[in-house]
Symmetry: D2
Subunit: 339 residues, 4 copies
């Protein structure tokens, strides 16, 4: 089925032409696994982008990226604090339990699927410091959040200080990191820096942003990379022909394509948002919209060929992508406004 | 580095043009994960190929394919019998321990990295039937084996009867299944059937045979597929844009490309073998050659731009691929003969 | 420190004299592990007690008993529904995550730490039936509950029907099973039967009821016992001198000591409850009392040598045991009434 | 069945009277788990015994003791080198795979089930330093070994230097540590020190030496104790009434009972050995004898009421214990000599 006016998700959008080019260019023989020359460029490329030393590993999915990073900061007998609606809790099929060998996700409340130090403290302060209760080892946040909200540099600084004070690791699920960075603004380097802040690790998503099958695990303590490389292999995520994944990622970084793609998606989301008015359940700070719509209103939109998911009984989710057509976004905004 | 006259491995060879085409053709929007129309075709395509009902799931690596299949047949407190030099034991970074939650690999001896019922019985018969000793739950064999040897239909029947008699699952690591099937001969359907025999599951490799990043887990008891789907997601192996993996696999099946590619590689291997004479450590039944060569002889070959791995102190391994040039294979055979 | 007027917990009470006798009587040599004649009697003894066929294994702790039973009914990629305040969630240090290899505890709400089919349905009905979300495999309830509440036979029948209808396993944490059975009344056999109902497995507690270090895992499908025996060994819980554990358990069953001990503790709890009036936060149906008491009131009681735990800021928990002295219980009741 | 002239194993021998006394003395109420005054004495007691700072935790079995210690030094993606016939490999039902989350046991060869640095190097030196192969993280040795052999202080120093040089942890399975210490001689402190050497952790066995159900995990880096306490709870090994376990251990240390019991068993073994002559398969350095005996000879001994296990087809194993009667040992030695 070819989808028309698709706002279902960015996760199935087509692959960007420049990534196709880059993959084709990688078609000549090279060393297997991550021994090829493209994979070898990743550390330097991301170090340049973030303006701080880091190690970068490709992996095929955000789920694997999140879990491999979290495994460096949470022992099997510990816990990872995340939002009750975090993707790792709700939509990864229990992957953290697998990769972290039974460690516990500890569910905090927070507005817009974001967490503040106060939200986290409310959850973990009552935990008795004894062996009968699982102790938190790390915090995982999502940038942009599951409701399309963005952490500001100031908010990230606060979380970083809190995590450091509690001796907790801080991981960022960046499935839509590019959209957050684009929203926060500035040059690519400035945007990357302000959107990542003082985290220990980042699952930097490219697939929702025009990639085919490559995300990057970014470790801001490069000494942890060796462990992650072993764990990646052990999880069956060390692909033979890693150069095709590295090629996608490098093409994304080249000329800041990642940021341009995300800016496009964000702009389309704002176009839609312009028609939503009071219907918006959350401010639109990335490329997702959560919109109050009755069942009849949703039916009316679908009758106009707009594709999207229901979100509970009284609302819908719309997601824009790197290739959302401007006219589709404008049409959707108008259609909602006209309801 | 561009490798010239490469016989290092088939695992880094270029992607076949027909797979590129198929992936590009998949570039239009469709449902994410394995909800797309291409992924939906896999069960039927493999059922037709094997002439017996099966379920088929794509996954990015052979390691994941093997482990997901094994997890259906071996409980965490059980063991999997495999050859001492099996890939799952030697080269998968402990992945079976991860996916099987600590189950044990039980190492049998056998000629050419193949196992016979007698080899397996010699290992497991002395195991006391009590809780102090890990009990075998499954057997894993490799087709073609780690030394490029092929199980005949008769041998597979013997192993199947043995496994059934002992109530053990039987899994086949088919990273080079196509090469084995091509060696055994017949039409694609006959070859697939004779090379797979009475196994419960097969990790059907395509990557070494011209693929980019897609293998198939074949479950001959389709009822086990549901569990594997959950486990695949949990392992972070359910890619968003699964249609690009399905496209690769379907293109491989289309017109029996898988078999043609393997036949090409096998023929190249025979071309090399023709020059090896007594130097061959194992009969060449697929696309790998293990050749007795002194250090000086290896140096001499490398001076002629042949790339390959040492195999211990006194021999070398040569691997041909779907795209090995006939003149390179002939040249290598002659060069070895001339030593 | 010797505790006076102790109402802290039943979990540290002295060992019953008859158990000491039984352990001493077991001091002659016998086969190790569970090969001794006492361990061999367990299956029959519990089958007689419950009036239905079952297998019974000793284990040193309730945590291990719960987890070993749950592992038979929940795959690593599944989930176990339990109350948000269930012991397995709150106080077992993440043991279910360890024993179940990362399976998820799914937290339901319910009055008095009990669960109804409606409570469970409210939690699991919204779970999408897809691989992105962990699916429930089992339900765990606690009899008596963490708030000293007891499931009636009718309630258990309802849960059993619900679990069967949903194809979920049903496990009972019976750390204070004896107290529940004593509360429900009848002969030992009747009480055991009515307190256990249609569960698949029961962690039958003896330690809080006068034991030293032996609980029983009861499997009402005896075919599952073999797996649990392997898992018990694998968890390091197969003690060499198992006869001392079996001796404790058999002594508890002998002459229905388990029921008499629990009845004593329950009676003491009722004696205390008589003085609590409106202060009681939960009906007293076993041997625990949760009592509204200000900080000053708690201090006043402690000044009278009563030992107990705070329960939040405005209440306290009192637990009676098999050896609670009648005069202490009466004194506590009066002291609370006099506040 | 009451066994007469039992040489089957020390693992099912009666409990020493002093331990009964100590357990009975612990029968007064105290804090649960390891919060009691006896458990609190363990660290100091073992620090005094070994003459070096250490932390000590009770646990019910040697299997749990070994695995909890190993988990502090081997990550899930690593391996533990042990002898091919080590108890952790052969007789613990896969427990290391469970506790270490799938880490691999790497099997070395060595005379008398002992390992030398050379034995270990022969195993691990060929391991490629890449992610495809599991890397060793730790070494586990057994003192006394599975064949009743003892590591001398010099041998231990060599292993310690090797482990340190390779950055590997070094754990000692001391199920029969007391017998090794008694064999090595000296005061209790000297014996403990010389038998433990430069290990990082020790599973100090008491159960085979007259205990009921308590072993000690000794951590010579006390900072690791916190992690082990969490893991012990998580494994269901934190017993409520831990004071009964602590009481056993403290009674064993009191007046060096552990050493006296072991010396008694060793002496009995020597008494038997005196009659074995050339039949001995291994020097007798602890309390186990492996004796060449034909089937007919074994039948002849059993006809004289000696109980023991066959050890393969042509030999038998005899184990003495703290309570082996001198006349039985003498009789056995004479009976063998008379064959």
């Amino acid at each position: 089925m070819t989808l028309t006016k698709p706002f279902l998700s960015d996760n199935a959008a087509a692959v960007h032409p420049k990534l196709w080019e880059a993959m084709r260019a990688a078609d000549e023989p090279d060393n297997p696994y991550d021994g090829d020359r493209l994979s070898a460029e990743l550390d330097a490329a991301f170090t340049a982008l973030f303006g701080r030393e880091c190690a970068a590993l490709w992996v095929a999915t955000g789920t694997a990226a999140n879990c491999l990073a979290l495994a460096t900061m949470c022992a099997p007998h510990g816990g990872v604090v995340c939002h009750r609606e975090a993707h790792i809790e709700v939509d990864e099929g229990g992957a953290p339990g697998f990769y972290l060998h039974g460690a516990k996700l500890m569910l905090a409340e927070g507005e817009g699927a974001k967490l503040t130090p106060e939200d986290i403290a409310a959850l973990i302060d009552p935990i008795r410091n004894d062996v009968h209760q699982v102790q938190p080892h790390a915090i995982a946040i999502t940038q942009a959040s599951e409701y399309g909200r963005t952490y500001t540099p100031g908010e990230l600084a606060g979380l970083g200080a809190f995590a450091k004070g509690r001796k907790l690791g801080l991981h960022m699920d960046g499935a839509r990191f590019a959209n957050a960075a684009a929203f926060l603004g500035g040059s690519a380097v400035e945007a990357a820096r302000s959107a990542s802040g003082p985290v220990d690790s980042l699952a930097f998503g490219f697939i929702k942003n025009g990639g085919m099958g490559a995300e990057a695990v970014i470790l801001f303590d490069p000494e942890r990379a060796a462990e992650v490389r072993y764990r990646r292999k052990r999880a069956g995520h060390l692909q033979c022909k890693g150069r095709y994944l590295a090629a996608q990622i490098l093409a994304m970084l080249d000329g800041d394509l990642w940021l341009a793609n995300a800016a496009h998606a964000n702009a389309a989301a704002q176009e839609v948002a312009a028609g939503c008015g009071e219907r918006l359940l959350h401010p639109v700070e990335a490329n997702e919209l959560f919109v109050h719509l009755t069942q009849a209103e949703r039916a009316a939109l679908r009758a106009q060929d707009f594709a999207f998911y229901d979100w509970g009984a009284q609302s819908a989710r719309f997601v824009t992508a790197w290739n959302t057509r401007a006219q589709d976004a404008a049409a959707l905004g108008k259609a909602i406004a006209a309801l």
